[in-house]
């Protein structure tokens, strides 16, 4: 693990998600920042891009698809992982077609997400 730590952003309007995922994802030595509001997350991303963004798809103001589009517009190399409330094929397909790295359906275990991030990091650091 001599690699530089990855910068991971977690966006979910459920406060507990960020609270639990932050220590879970920091275990691999990565840097994790959590946000409950899409705008704040995008503003933060604009000033300092992240390697991986994990975002919930259904949120009140800006939804996950918009965040995906804006982030890919800002930084094409960023891997975006979508969290869906209830996995429907259409939403998953739409997210993937718009360039999402993968999606994960709620409820999930931290290890499930870590596995996806692991794959993402392999793509980022071949």
């Amino acid at each position: 693990m001599s690699d530089q730590p990855l910068k991971i952003m977690v966006i979910d309007d459920e406060n507990i998600v960020g609270k639990r995922l932050k220590p879970a994802l920091e275990k691999t030595g990565d840097i994790v920042e959590t946000f409950e509001e899409g705008e704040k997350a995008l503003a933060r991303f604009a000033e300092d891009p992240f390697d991986i963004v994990v975002t919930d798809i259904r949120m009140e103001k800006i939804d996950g698809i918009e965040i995906l589009e804006q982030i890919l517009a800002l930084s094409g190399r960023t891997k975006v992982i979508i969290i869906t409330g209830y996995a429907t094929v259409e939403i998953a397909r739409e997210a993937l077609s718009k360039g999402a790295f993968d999606f994960i359906a709620k409820p999930f275990k931290p290890s499930d997400l870590r596995a996806i991030i692991e794959r993402a990091s392999k793509e980022l650091r071949p």
Binding site: R20, P23, R58, E60, G85
Partner: protein, 502 residues
Amino acid sequence: MDLHITDIEDPDINYSNEPANIPLHRRPSISIRAKIAISFSLFFILSFTVTGWSYWILTRLENKIEFLEIADNYMVEIQQARRFEKNYLLYSTDLEDALGHLKTADEILTQNSEKIETILGRDHFATMVSYMTKYHGQLVLLGRAENDAEKELVVPKLRQFGSQMVSFAGEFVEKEQNSATRMFLLAKRVPLYFMGALFVLMVFVFTFLTRQLLLTLNRFMDYTIRIGEGDFSPITPARKYRDEFTKLAEAFNHMIKELDHKHNVLLESHKLRAIGTLVAGVAHELNNPLNNTLLTASMLTEDFHTLSDDEKIEMVNDVIGETERAQRVVKNLLDFAREGETEMTPLEIDKIVEDSTRLVVNQVKFAKVDLKLDCETNLPKIHGDEQKLKQVFVNLILNAVDVLPPGGEIRIHVKKDKSRGYVLVTVTDNGPGIPEHIQGRIFEPFFTTKSQAKGTGLGLSVSRGIIKKIGGYIHLTSSPGQGTTFTVSLPATESPSEIMSK
């Protein structure tokens, strides 16, 4: 092989034993047939009376004419007798002529005594006969007188009785002549009176029967309108007696019962549809607390040995909190979905509306619209079925959500309409509005502006049925571009808080 035999129902179906029809049936019966029969009987009685009366008057006239003929003959005879009496006194002619005429007069009286008696009456007839007898007596005395002196003694009484006899008879003849003339006049006028009476009777019967029929028909028209609007309360007696229309009313009540039953089925199917819509939201709503629980519990096991006690307690509390959240979500939907009979209970309307907004919170969130609820305090209670009312409000909110673009607004206002004893719930959106030509049809069953997949067109018609049933009403104000407001007015039952505020 199975043979299905369908019952051919008796065309003379009897619904009068149904509970809703008992008040209709428990009235004295006066059928329309009886009314028509009575009217015709009245005509018949009138005609009969007039005919009978005419017959009677003509018979009387006939008698009078007969009497007048007899009286005329009698008059001629007694006048002749008197003339011969005078001749005897003046010219000493034969007194036998006078006696002869008097005898004929007497015969006329005795022969026709019955007829004369019926007209003059027994007393007058007796007087008449006595005058003639007295005159006859004097005339006989006159005949026996030997000299002028004796004659002179008889003459005054003879003249007195003679003139009395003639004038008495003359008076009666004149009287009867006058009475016969009057009868003629009357007989001439009777047909005219009859025409008048007939006309009055006809007008009366006509207005009475048409009033009976038309008013009842109008009443039934009103019933159909009322039933069409979803008011399924049975028809109650409007008059003191029953007739053929009662059978119709009973059939109506039977139909209302069937419609009510069908309506309840419709209500249930509409509710199922609403549940279907809500479930999508609830699934998402459930996934969040589930996810939070799973994440927290996973992290708790993963880091059990490195976490501080405080952190562990916090995580366990999170698990408890999220489990309770899931429970609330499920309970709210189950309350709504619970099948059951209509239960009319006193309800707090603000709580009902609040629960309804909670049910649709996910749909509102997903559609990215803003929902604001504003309740007045100290609202009177209303009387109704909790589930069904929620169904109405959920339906109104979901309709608003469907037409609103992201960023749209739904405002719900719960307030009293103090002057009329109603509680008003207004659901306002700032969507595209409903075109005027559709507004009239919006409450019709199966009318929908949505695509086949999205709407059945039952929502508003079912909602109106629910509201009508508890004595309220629902209407909308809308103009294109200005949004739409649905107002639900519910009759308030006086609540303790209201009594206290008096």
